[in-house]
């Protein structure tokens, strides 16, 4: 098991390195290390080192690859939590409305050109986050009101009702103002371009805190997969734990969507693959989902920007294009054996 873990983490580093090295210009790993030591520790660059390389690596490639890694990790952790808490292999933050809410928030910003004071350029991500989280909270609060025990099916159904309603509002708003449709659709497809360090510095602490909090609840997650009654009978304070976990998962997805747009599939697939490889214990599933989902997203982003140059494909579509066959391979190969 320890060997497997080590291999996974090393593989993630290699993938991250590839994500930085490859692109319109290939940059050898040695040069990448030079740039990192130069920028972080102020070490001198080798003679004849091109300034453009420093700029490409430090200002474009590294933040982009890191952002993709963090986003993939956060989405996967969120997916693992949703699947276990709601005891449904198809559940995710998207099922219970986070993307619909975030899209509505983005729609309002794009259509009406809203700019919030203090955060300025971050109005779009902030509104995406706030609306995404808001929709989920409303759905959960509604479910809790309808059904005091907060049964899983109630939550999923409530989430879908809210999600469809909010989607309809967004569709109406876009239909009435077609000139902005393109920008909105592009945002919804997801991308890591032009984000830079500021996005990394905001998203990283949020994602790390969320993942650590979820890891803290690893035993409760394990027990909840056996059903709520059994978890409760073993002493889990079900209602509170469920609230904390659902909100944390929604926050992880919401903040990722805010910066990268709606990227699907990874949150669904990464936890399943990790469970196949490492077993179901959440003490491993949560951190490994983060590592695996992160590496997977770096590969998808790499594909998105290098497959059909100079065009950049929407990363949201690439995740499913690469992920679906990979998922089918892993899942059904093991099922047969």
């Amino acid at each position: 098991m320890k060997k497997k873990l080590l291999i996974a983490i090393c593989a993630a580093f290699v993938v991250l390195m590839f994500g930085i090295a490859l692109g319109s210009v290939y940059i050898p790993p040695g040069d990448i290390l030079s740039v990192i030591t130069h920028s972080v520790f102020g070490a001198a660059l080798p003679e004849g080192f091109r300034a453009a390389t420093v700029s490409i690596v430090w200002n474009l490639r590294i933040p982009r690859a890191l952002l993709a890694f963090i986003a993939g990790g956060a989405l996967s952790v969120s997916g693992a939590v949703m699947q276990s808490v709601l005891r449904n292999p198809l559940a995710s933050s998207y099922t219970i409305g986070v993307s619909s809410g975030a899209s509505l928030g983005a729609c309002i910003v794009i259509l009406y050109g809203v700019t919030l004071p203090l955060i300025g350029a971050f109005t779009l991500p902030f509104m995406g986050f706030a609306f995404g989280l808001g929709t989920i909270l409303l759905a959960i609060a509604f479910a809790a009101r309808m059904d005091r025990g907060m049964e899983n099916n109630t939550i999923i159904l409530a989430g879908m009702v809210f999600s469809l309603f909010v989607n309809a509002v967004t569709t109406l708003m876009t239909a009435l103002t077609r000139e902005h449709m393109q920008r909105l659709i592009f945002w919804q497809m997801g991308s890591f371009s032009m984000m830079g360090w500021s996005a990394v510095l905001i998203l990283a602490p949020v994602a790390l805190a969320g993942a650590l909090l979820v890891t803290h609840y690893n035993r409760e997650l394990d027990m909840m997969t056996f059903g709520e009654e059994q978890a409760k009978s073993m002493g889990v304070n079900l209602k509170r734990v469920k609230w904390v976990l659902l909100v944390t998962a929604a926050m992880l997805t919401g903040s990722t969507i805010a910066f990268a747009g709606v990227i699907g599939f990874v949150d669904l697939v990464a936890p399943h693959i990790v469970r196949r490889l490492f077993g179901s214990s959440h003490r491993l599933v949560i951190p490994m989902s983060a590592v695996f989902g992160g590496a997977f997203m770096v590969i998808c982003d790499l594909a998105a920007r290098t497959l059909i140059p100079p065009n950049e494909l929407p990363v949201g579509a690439v995740t499913a294009l690469i992920g679906a066959p990979f998922f089918a391979y892993i899942y059904f190969k093991r099922a047969k054996a």
Partner: protein, 274 residues
């Protein structure tokens, strides 16, 4: 503790009004309508109770209410203390519920599954890493249900009988005072049904524990305990020693079928079997 000392202790606790478990005029149900209505009974240490009754009479609801899964009217006390004044974990550390097996969607090893029973005992609050004592306890529980050799197996690959023993071990790992059985013998073959009941009887016989069993099979229920409660339509129809309360008439009225006649007829069929 020998029989005399136990009897004295029970007398002492009863005299103080401190039964191990006391259910007073409890009503509970779902969506505002009561499924059990005004149920009352006391249970002392070392005493088991079998609950029988037709489908939908409220047996499971009663167990779920005692295990603090449902809101209720009335009062339930544990050792004289009202459960309303206790946190859920304080109740869960005393009462464990063993239900029938439901779908298993995620694969865990037998060992990890039993370790989940240690939830309230594990001292490491940050990651929940088990101590040596927890590990020893889990191994003892696995030994008790004869699953040590299977400890690394995936629970999704076990047979129904093995799986039920895993859950029994997990329940034992909780170290509760009271085990509630909610028809745990469904889908088990005869041998495991008998083994489960015999094991729990032995478990409860140390004088400080008790088992409350809801069992479909009346014979199995009587095997668990001579202390019988018959429930119909959410109300207690009879409660006491089975030899005192059980009559053909009462069972027929409860189940709307001639139970005693059926049992006699079954018995006749066995007369010629060697």
């Amino acid at each position: 503790m020998n029989g005399k000392a136990r009897a004295f202790k029970n007398f002492y606790c009863a005299a103080e009004g401190r039964h191990m478990l006391s259910v007073n005029n409890v009503s509970a149900g779902y969506n505002g309508s009561d499924v059990i209505k005004g149920v009352s009974f006391d249970l002392d240490r070392g005493e088991n109770l079998s609950i029988i009754g037709p489908n939908g009479c409220g047996k499971t609801t009663l167990l779920r209410t005692i295990a603090n899964m449902l809101p209720f009217k009335g009062e339930i006390t544990l050792g004289g203390k009202s459960t309303r004044k206790m946190k859920h974990r304080e109740i869960a550390v005393k009462i464990a519920l063993l239900s029938q097996i439901t779908g298993i969607y995620f694969s865990y090893s037998v060992y990890d599954t039993v370790m989940m029973g240690r939830y309230l005992h594990v001292k490491d609050r940050l990651l929940g890493l088990p101590s040596d004592e927890d590990k020893k306890n889990v191994m003892r529980c696995l030994e008790a249900v004869d699953l040590v050799a299977e400890k690394d197996r995936d629970i999704t690959k076990l047979s129904g009988g093995q799986l039920q023993r895993v859950f029994l071990a997990r329940t034992l790992a909780q170290e509760p005072d009271i085990i509630l059985l909610d028809e745990p013998t469904n889908h088990l073959d005869l041998r495991y049904q008998i083994e489960l009941v015999e094991y729990l009887k032995q478990w409860a016989s140390n004088g400080s524990r008790a088992v409350i069993g809801v069992l479909h099979d009346i014979n199995l229920a009587l095997r668990l305990s001579g202390n019988l409660m018959i429930i119909k339509d959410g109300c207690v129809r009879a409660h006491g020693r089975s030899s005192d309360i059980m009559t053909g008439g009462l069972l027929e009225e409860t189940y709307d079928v001639d139970v005693a006649g059926y049992m006699r007829e079954s018995l006749k069929r066995w007369e010629g079997v060697n």
